[in-house]
């Protein structure tokens, strides 16, 4: 599983980076979104992989931490997802307004 996930992160990152380096605003937005998928997974991997070990503790006995998926990276990913959603929205609107004001969708507002 580890190798698959690492490969997945790599491919998402590479695609995202490629798009981020493109000259069209919409490409950049998509690129950043792809990169944020990759980074979210990356954060998750910092808690190491757990299959079938969700972070829901029992009510009765003190839980054995080793039996659960590390909850902290998950909480961090949740925060990161929300923030990257917000930023995607903002960037989208900025690019729409920029498109309106500059008349083209080049990231620099003018064709080189």
């Amino acid at each position: 599983m580890e190798i698959v996930l690492a490969l997945g992160i790599g491919v998402l990152t590479a695609s995202g980076v490629w798009l981020v380096l493109r000259p069209r605003t919409f490409q950049v937005v998509l690129g950043l979104s792809l990169m944020s998928y990759a980074v979210n997974l990356f954060i998750y991997t910092m808690g190491r992989l757990r299959v079938d070990a969700p972070a829901i503790v029992g009510r009765d006995a003190a839980p054995d931490p080793a039996a659960y998926a590390d909850p902290l990276p998950q909480a961090l990913v949740l925060t990161a997802i929300v923030i990257s959603f917000a930023m995607t929205a903002l960037l989208l609107v900025v690019l729409l307004v920029s498109r309106g004001l500059t008349g083209n969708d080049h990231v620099d507002g003018d064709e080189p």
Binding site: L19, V20, A75, L96
Partner: protein, 964 residues
Amino acid sequence: MTGVDGLLLSILVLPFAGSILAAFLPTAARNAAALLSGAVALAGLILVALLYPAVADGTAVRGEIAWMPSLGLSLVIRLDGLSWLFSTLVLGIGALVVLYARYYMSPEDPVPRFFSFLLAFTGSMLGLVLSGNLVQLAFFWELTSLFSFLLIGYWHHNRAARDSARMALLTTAGGGLCLFAGVLLLGNIVGSYDLDRVLAAGDLIRSSGLYGPALALILIGAFTKSAQFPFHFWLPKAMAAPTPVSAYLHSATMVKAGIFVLIRLWPVLSQTDEWYVLVSSAGLLTLLVGAWAAIFQQDLKGLLAYSTISHLGLITLLLGLGSPLAAVAAIFHVVNHATFKASLFMAAGIIDHETGTRDLRRLSGLYRFMPITATLAMIAAAAMAGVPLLNGFLSKEMFLSESLQRHSGTVIDQALPVLATLASAFAVLYSVRFIHQTFFGPPPTELARTPGEAPRWMRVPIEILVLACLLVGIIPAMTIGPVLSSAVRSVLGDATPSYSLAIWHGFTWPMLMSLAALVLGTIAYLRFGKMLNRTEGAPLLRRFHTRRIFDGALAFTASAARVLERRLGTRRLQPQLRLLLFVAIAAGLLPVMRHGYSLGGMEGTVVDPGFAVIWAVGGACALGAAWRAKYHRLTALVLMGGAGLVSCISFVWLSAPDLALTQLLVETVTTVLLLLGLRWLPQRSAALAPAKGAAFPFRRAVDAAIAVAAGLGLGLLAYAALTRAPPADAVSRFYMERAYPDAGGTNVVNVILVDFRSFDTLGEITVLAIVALTVFALLRRFRPAPESLGLPAQQRLQNAYDDAQSGREVGDTLVDYLMIPRVLMEWLFPFIVALALYLWVRGHDMPGGGFIAGVTMATALILQYMAAGTRSVEARLRVQPVRWIGIGLLLAVLTGAAALIVGRPFLTTYFSYLDLPLFGRVPAASALLFDLGVFVLVVGATALMLIAIAHQSIRKPLSRAGES
């Protein structure tokens, strides 16, 4: 603070206080400003005079105020013979200049400002000469540059004034920075910036490895300030200043600041070969160049300016020679030059004032119109030429006598007597020319008005100065003697040589050289005087158009800087992102290269084929999105949705249901959002793409390399981490152990979000709120691209069809299209609301929580908008997202702040089990309330963003609104 401290401090404080006071006087208050300034100068003079007994014997008095004690920096006001002499000059000539300026300045000028600057300059000069600390000295040094800049540029409506002010500023302030660096080195060598300690550490300084750099830097400072060749160019240009300023700055103060520093540091810096070579050669060159150039000036003030340069060179040369006697002569000449040069500038000012010109060629025979001024000017000029019985003669005799001594055995020594005589002859020549051209000969023609004597009180300053020239020249021992002695003693201390200030030493070599100079100079004038009127600029120096060189250098600096800025920087986004990623990859790579890439020993989990298949799809989606995003935005968007779904499934697989749920919902909302945006992005087509440059394939290759490197890098880091055991005592153990007993939740992830680390969540929802507000504000003034203004092509066609068809109305296609889905989507609304509430309530124990609930709720709203259209929904639902955001934020904050009431830290949760009738034992956690705030805010923010974009479709653009 002792009495002496108080006196010392008030000498320094008075001018600055006066300056501030003058600045606030009304523009027309010429007399008040002059009176104030005069009073300040006189008061200062009296204070200084009162302190003379304390320094007469060559010792120093100090007043000290702690400033930055931990850096060894104190405000030390140190008065000794030398600084007494300089202070007296600064204040005395300052007082005379004030009086003169009162009459010189036109009532139209904002005179209070002039006096304010003048006083501030006086204060800075005093601060400089009274500094008992090297840093403080540099501090006031720069202040003199600054205020001289303001004074020179006083008539800033005049271009010449502006330019020369800037030139003076750049030269002297730049030199000042060097001086600053130099004194810091000096302080570093000595271990203290205190002047007394520095002066006591001469041997240490001269033997230090830093001596050379320190000396060079200090000399650059001193030479720029004192207009030594090749830094002399700013001084003649500074003649654009009002004449009182010239009289003040170029006789007693500004230019003498450099000389002052050379004298001040003479005991510790001189006596080395470096000093001798650098200082004396600069002085000698300046002496000759200045005098030579002065001969050819046609402007009265220009002649005086070059003469000043020459005399400054003379003083510098004397200091450079390194012998104590030469130093005495230098100090003496400082005083003498100040008096005669100040009076000459004032006289020149009167001539300018009365005739309207300063051109020597146009002036003639003014003696008959202004005999008193003429007489005064003649005496002062004679002093400048070194005529016996005047003060200039005495110090020049000392100079000539020194020039005959052996100092180093270099070529300078050999040539010095001849060159000194030659320079003296030049001085005679330009002095004679100055007097003769101006006051003698036929009456002037073509003058704008008939000249006359200046007002009585305008002449007084000149009279006083000329009197001083005479008195010092005739009875030096009774006038300047004691003062000079204490000044010299304060510098040379035990090394003070014996010297005599008698006017007659018999027929000595210096006497003969003086006479030779007088004769040579006069003959030269008689022979070449007429010819001089026809020259433009000094031969040999003519090619040095200093202004042009200076301006050219500045222009070159600016344009070179612009080229460099473009080369080293960029304003385009793609190169910036390339660099950013490159730097990040390099930064991440370097530690790996140092420590080596290694995998950990943890046994991995078995690869699940399903997972691999899913990721094959996900990777393909990501690559596909990257491939298609340029011209097929919708396709790319759908593919990105696929990649998102894959990462969502991965979270499920990897035991993170909360993440999966969140990612899924966000995914959906993001898709809607981007589609809303696509409406406003006109179609791109490959056919319309601009031609690509030759660098295009290269750039793509670079981008591909960066992308692959980034992907490899992050993937390898992830894999390296995944194969290692997690840190043994990670903090997450605490969360799992405490989540239920202390925070009452079994979903540890959610407990972290709303309790352990609820502060993060508060920040996160704040981000969401801010972004929503920003989106809203931005779209308020949205102006779509022209191509997007109209309806999308599909709608136009469908409308046209509806219109053409009988029995149909425009919009029917849409109504038919949505009729059935709309019913279903409306009836789903309450169920989705119920689901949202359920997700919120159970979040603490199971996957869910405020955010997830909020996005679900927002999706329900968006579905209504899609089904029924904006107007229709808003006719029925009162949507006030901004208020929702406010309420949600407030709810979260207040829940957190409630803990403060009972003295617990912010966001401390309250949690217990309540036994309620009917309900039984239920958990009551304030975290639930906090999560409600999150819920409400997320609904508001998400809706606000989506709806604000959606609203653009139904808004009338201004152009159309105006037409209708």
